[in-house]
Subunit: 253 residues, 6 copies
C-alpha cells in the first residue's frame, strides 16, 4: 500500500476541463491528483524559418511552472534570464512526443505552440503536460481542420503519458512528488492509442536496474496510459472519432 | 452605454476564491470580468541583504502573464532572457502599493513575495493583481501572526485598486481590454479602506487632460474601489476584522 | 524654510545650454540646481517595424546615469547586462510624455530618439530629462521641418515637468535628492503649455495621502511647470514661435 | 550491410588514449570511428553549496562541440550567450550516468568535473562522451584515492554507452551521423559492467515503435556496451582491477 | 598640411577642467580638439575578492560612449545586454596603463575605479581617456593620501597618451576621426613622465609597416606625450609636485 | 639559461599537423612546446551584412580555450553567458592580423572563419593561434582558389607571430606560461614573410620599458618569426609557392 492509499498499479484521479481559456484555439486544465497544468494551443499561419516552403507544419511546446507551484518557491526563469536545463529537456520532450502523432504534411504550413504552465505540482508534471497538451492540440487542429477544410484530419493517433518507478523494491504507477523523491528508478513513458512507444526515458541514478525490472515498469505504464487515453477520448467527444478514424485506418494497413 | 452594457460608473463582477493553491501560505484566484489572476503569497524567514539586521520585514511582488493570456500569444520573458519594461513597472507598482499598508516593523525580519500570474487577460490586470494580492497577503500574514504570536497585526488598512479612463469624452470605471485600447486617458488608482490614495497614475499619451477631467476620474475610482474592498472583506472573513481593528484605531488617533 | 533656503513653492535655478553636441540634430545640457542632464535628439529616416507604412513618425527615449552621477557609484547597466526596472520605467515615461505633444502624422515616417544621460544627479532627474528632451526634440524637429519642407510644424504645445512632494507635512516644489529621500509623498507631473496634464504619478509608499493633499500638490506643480516652460521658450528663441502658433490655434478651436 | 560496410550488430573501432592533457587529473582522447572527444577530469576540494557539510562528493559534467566538429559550422554557445537545450540535456545525462557508479560517500567532500569536448563529430557524441568520461574519471579518482588514502575505492562498477536505432526496419548498433539522420527510432543506452541499465532513452519521433522492436534494440546495446567496457578495462590497466574488486564484491552480496 | 590645418607633428588643443563632478573623489572634463571625455575617480575601501588580504590596492577603469557621441547614433551596450569587444579592449588598456604608475602597496587595500565617459568623439577617445583619467586619479589619490595619512604618495610618475598614424605616407600626431579612418597604420602609445613606454599598440591592418616607419611614429608620439603631460601638471598644481618628488627619486636611484 | 634550458633567443619546438579535421575546408593542429591549438578554417559563400554587394571577401576569427587547457580549470564562457574581455581582444587580434595579408577583392564575396581552440595552454596561445590559423586559412583559400578558378591567389604574404618579453632584465623569445607570469614586459609581434610588422603590442604593466629595451625585443621577435614562417612553408608544401609568387611580385614592385 502506498502513502496515499493507492495500489501499486493505480493511477491518481484525472480531470480534464476543456475550454479553460477564452483566447486560445484549444485549451484545457488537466488535473492528475494534485498536479494541475493549464495547456493552451496557439495556431499561427507560419512556420519557423528552417521549414519554410516545404508545405509541412510544425508543432512545438513550452513548459513552465508558476513560482509557487511547488512546496518551496522557485525563482522565475524570466528573472534569472535563462531557461534551466530541466525546463529545456521537458519542453523538447513534449514537442517531440506530440509531433510523433501529427501528420505534418496534412497540417499544412502552419505551426501550433502548446504552452504547458504548471499551476500546482505534485509529481508527474511532464507526463501530465503531454497528456493535457494532446487534448488542447486536438481541439485546435479540429478547429483548423474545419475552418481550412483540410482534406485529411492531421492527427494519426491518441497520445498519453505516465511515470512509473521503483519504490522500496516495488514497481509503482504514477508517482506523486513524495514518491518520486524516494524512487530508486524513475521512468517516463509516452505511448500511442495503438500501444506503441513514443518515448521511453528510464533513469537509475540512485541504482542501476535490471532487464526484469525494466519489463515490469513497461507493463505497468502500458496499462495506465491506455486508461489516460480513455479520459482524453471522453473529453474530446466527437473530435475523438476523427482521430479514431485515422488510427484504425493505419492499424489495418 | 458601454459595449458590454455597463453604466459608466459600473465595475465588472468580481469573484475571489481563496485557498487556490495547496502549497502557498496565502493564495487566491481573483476574477474581474474575464481577467483572471492567480495570486500566491510566499513567506520566507529572511529579508533581502540590504535590509538585514534592521528588525523590519519586506514585501515584494512579481507579475507575469501566461503566453496565451492575451488574444495574440506573447513570447515568454524567460525565453527572451529578460523582463520587459511593462512587467518591471507593474511589479514595482504592486510591491510598493502593498507595502504602504503593511507595518514592516510589526511583521518582523521576514519577507513576503506576492506572485501575480495572469492566466487570462481582459484589461485591468495590474489593478486586479493588486486587489487579489492584498487578500493573499492578508491570509499569509494572518498565518504568521498566529504561528509567531505577533504582538500587533501587521496590516494597517485594506487596499484596493481599479482603473478609470476617458472613452469618447466620458469618464468610465474599470475598463476592459477593448475599452482600454480606445481610451484617450488612462488612470490606475490604488486606495486604502480609509479612502486615502496610495498611487495615482494618470497618462494622457493620446490627449492631455484637464484638471476637471482628473477630478471626475478620481471620484469614479474612489467609489469603485470601496466596492472592491467590500469584496475583499467578505473573502477574508474574520481576518478582515483584525485589519479593521488597526484601521479604526489609526483613524481615531 | 527648506534645507537649501528655498521657499516651499520655489524651484531651483534652471539653465538650458543648446547646441551642446556637434553631431546630434538637437542637443542641450540642462541644469536644474545640481542635477545635470545631456539630452540629444537623433533623427532617423525610418520607423520601428511595427509602424512601417502608416505614414506616421515615432518618438522614443532612453535614459541613463553615468556611474558616478550619484553620491555612491552605481554599477553600469551595460556591465550588469540588463536595464533595471527604474531605468525602463523612466524611459517609457519620457517617450510617452514627448509623444503627447507631437503630431506624428505631420512628422512623417521618421523617428526621433531622445537620449537623456544624467551626468550629475541631485533629485528630479526624470522631470529634468523631460524638460530638457523637449527642447532638444524641438530643435531637431525644426531642422527636419525646414530641410524636408514639412507643411505643418509637428509640435502641438510645450511640455515641462517638475516633481512635488510632502516633506514634514508641507507640500514642496522641485525636491532635491536629500528632500526626495525624506518625502512621505512623491509626485511627478508633466504638463503642457496650455496647462493640461500629460502625466500625474503620485506615490504614497511611506504614507497614503488625502484628496486635499493631492490638490495642493497639483497646484504647486502647475505654477512651477509654467515657469519651466518659460525657460524653454527663451532657450528655443524663434522655434518657440512655431510651437506657439500651433498651440494657440488649438486652444482657439 | 550498412553504408560503411558494418554488420547490424557491429560497432565502429574504438581507440582510447589516456594522459592526453598534461594539466588535468585524468584525461583521454576517445575515438569511436570518426567521432573524437577529449574528456578531462578536474578534481576540486569542495562541493556545490547545496551539498556542503554532508560528507559526500559530487560528480558533474559539461559537454561542448568545437564549432567545426560538424559538417556545417555551428555558432559557439559562448557567442550566443546561452547553452542550447541539446547541450544541457546531454550534460545532465553524462553527469547523472557517471554518478550512478560512484560511491559519493567514499569519494568524500570533493567534486569532479568531466569536460567532454567534441573535436570531430560523426554520430554518437553523447555515448562516446560517457564512455570516455568514465575512463578520465577513473584515472582522476585513482589519483585522489592514492593521494588521500581513501579507505574504499569510490567507483562501484564500469560504465559504457552506445546508441542503437532502427534503420530501414533493421535494428543497428552504434549509428554514425548519416545513419542517425535516417533512423526512425533512436535509442541511447548506458549500462554497467554488471549488465544493469543506468539510462534507457528511446525516441520514436519519426515513428512509434513496438515492444518487440524495443527488445531487439536493448539486446543489441547490451552486447555492444560490454565490448566498449572491455576497451575501458584495457585502457585503465591496474586501475580496472580496483573497480573490478568493488563490482565483484557488490554482485556477490 | 592636414585637413584641419595642423602640421604633421602638431597635436590638437587640450583643455582639462578639474572638479567637474561634485560627488566623485576626483573628476575632470578633458577636451582634445572636439573629443570630450568626463573622467571620474571613485575610491572604495575594499578590493576585489582575488586581492583580499594582500595589503595592496587596485585600480580599474570602465569606458563608454554616450549613444550620440558619434556622427551616427550607436545602440547602448546596456540595451544590447553586453559589452562589445572594443569597449572591453579599451577599458582593459586604460586600467593596465594607470596601474603601471601606481604603487599599489603604498595605496593600501582600497580600490579606485576610473569611469571614462565619452560625451563627444572625434578620434583618440582611448588616449584622451588615459590622459584625463590619470588626472582624476591623481586628485582622488591626493585626497586619500591626506585623509588617511599615507606614508608615501602612491603615484610614481605622470602618464600621458596620444595616437600616431601614417596618412598618405606621412607620420602624423594625434589623428582626428576623419584622419583615423583613412590611416594605413594606427598606433596608440602610452608613456610616463620619465619617457618610458607603458603601452605600444601598433596595427597595420590596411598595410604592414616597416621598422623605419615604426621608429618615426614612436619619435612623434614621444614628443607629443610630453606636451600632454605638461598640461596635466598645470591642471594638477601642487599635486603635480608630489608626483614629481617620487618620479625624481626613482630616476636618481 | 632559462628554466627549460633554452637560450634567450631560442623558440620552443614547433609542430604543424595539417588535415586534422575531416569536415573543415582547412585545418591544423599546431604545437609550440606544450601549447596546442586546433585551427579550422570554414568557408561560407556569403559575407556579413555590412559588406554585402562590395565584391570583397571577409576573414574573421574566434578563439577559445577548453576549460582544462590550463593548470586550473576555467569556467566556460558559454556557461557564463558572455565572452570575456581577453577572449574578445584575442579574436579581434587574430582576425585583423590575418586580413592584413589577404587580398579581399581577389577572395571575392565569401567569408572565412578561423576557429582557434586551445586544447592545452603553456604560454603564447594567441601567437600560436595566429601562426596556425594562417596555415589553415591558406589551405582553405587554396581549395577555393582551385574550385572557383580565382584569377589571382588571394594571399599576399606569409604571416607568423611570437611573443617576446623581459625576464630578470633579459630579453627572451617565445615565453612559456611560467616565464610569462614573471615577465616585467610582455610583447606580441605579428610579422609578414617580407619582414614587415602587422601588429606590435607591448605592455609594461609591471614596469615601463625604455626605447632600447623595445629595440632589443623587436630584433628578437623578427628572427624568431622568420623561423616560424619557415615551418609554415614546409607544412604548406606547394601552396607555399603560390604565396611566394605574390609576395615576390609585391616586393619587386
Amino acid at each position: 500500500m502506498r502513502s496515499d492509499g493507492r495500489r501499486a498499479d493505480q493511477a491518481r484521479p484525472v480531470r480534464i476541463t476543456t475550454g479553460y481559456n477564452k483566447h486560445a484555439e484549444g485549451s484545457v486544465l488537466i488535473e492528475v491528483g494534485d498536479t494541475k497544468v493549464i495547456c493552451t494551443a496557439t495556431v499561427e499561419e507560419r512556420v519557423p524559418p528552417f521549414m519554410k516552403g516545404q508545405g509541412r507544419g510544425w508543432v512545438t511546446a513550452e513548459y513552465s511552472m508558476l513560482p509557487r507551484a511547488t512546496t518551496v518557491r522557485n525563482q522565475r526563469e524570466s528573472a534569472k534570464g535563462k531557461l534551466g536545463g530541466r525546463t529545456m529537456e521537458i519542453q523538447r520532450l513534449i514537442g517531440r512526443s506530440l509531433r510523433s502523432v501529427v501528420n505534418l504534411e496534412a497540417l499544412g504550413e502552419r505551426s501550433i505552440t502548446l504552452d504547458c504552465d504548471v499551476i500546482q505540482a505534485d509529481g508527474g508534471t511532464r507526463t501530465t503536460s503531454i497528456t493535457g497538451a494532446f487534448v488542447a492540440m486536438a481541439i485546435a487542429i479540429d478547429k483548423i481542420s474545419r475552418e481550412k477544410n483540410l482534406s485529411r484530419f492531421p492527427i494519426n493517433d491518441f497520445l498519453g503519458s505516465l511515470s512509473v518507478g521503483i519504490i522500496q523494491g516495488a514497481a509503482c504507477l504514477d508517482l506523486n512528488y513524495e514518491e518520486d523523491s524516494k524512487a530508486k528508478v524513475d521512468m517516463n513513458v509516452v505511448m500511442t492509442g495503438q500501444g506503441k512507444f513514443v518515448e521511453v526515458q528510464g533513469t537509475g541514478e540512485e541504482a542501476p536496474f535490471s532487464r526484469q525490472e525494466l519489463d515490469e515498469l513497461l507493463a505497468l505504464a502500458e496499462a495506465g496510459i491506455q486508461a489516460m487515453i480513455a479520459e482524453q477520448q471522453q473529453a474530446l467527444g466527437p473530435i475523438a472519432d476523427r482521430i479514431r478514424g485515422n488510427s484504425h485506418a493505419a492499424s489495418r494497413s
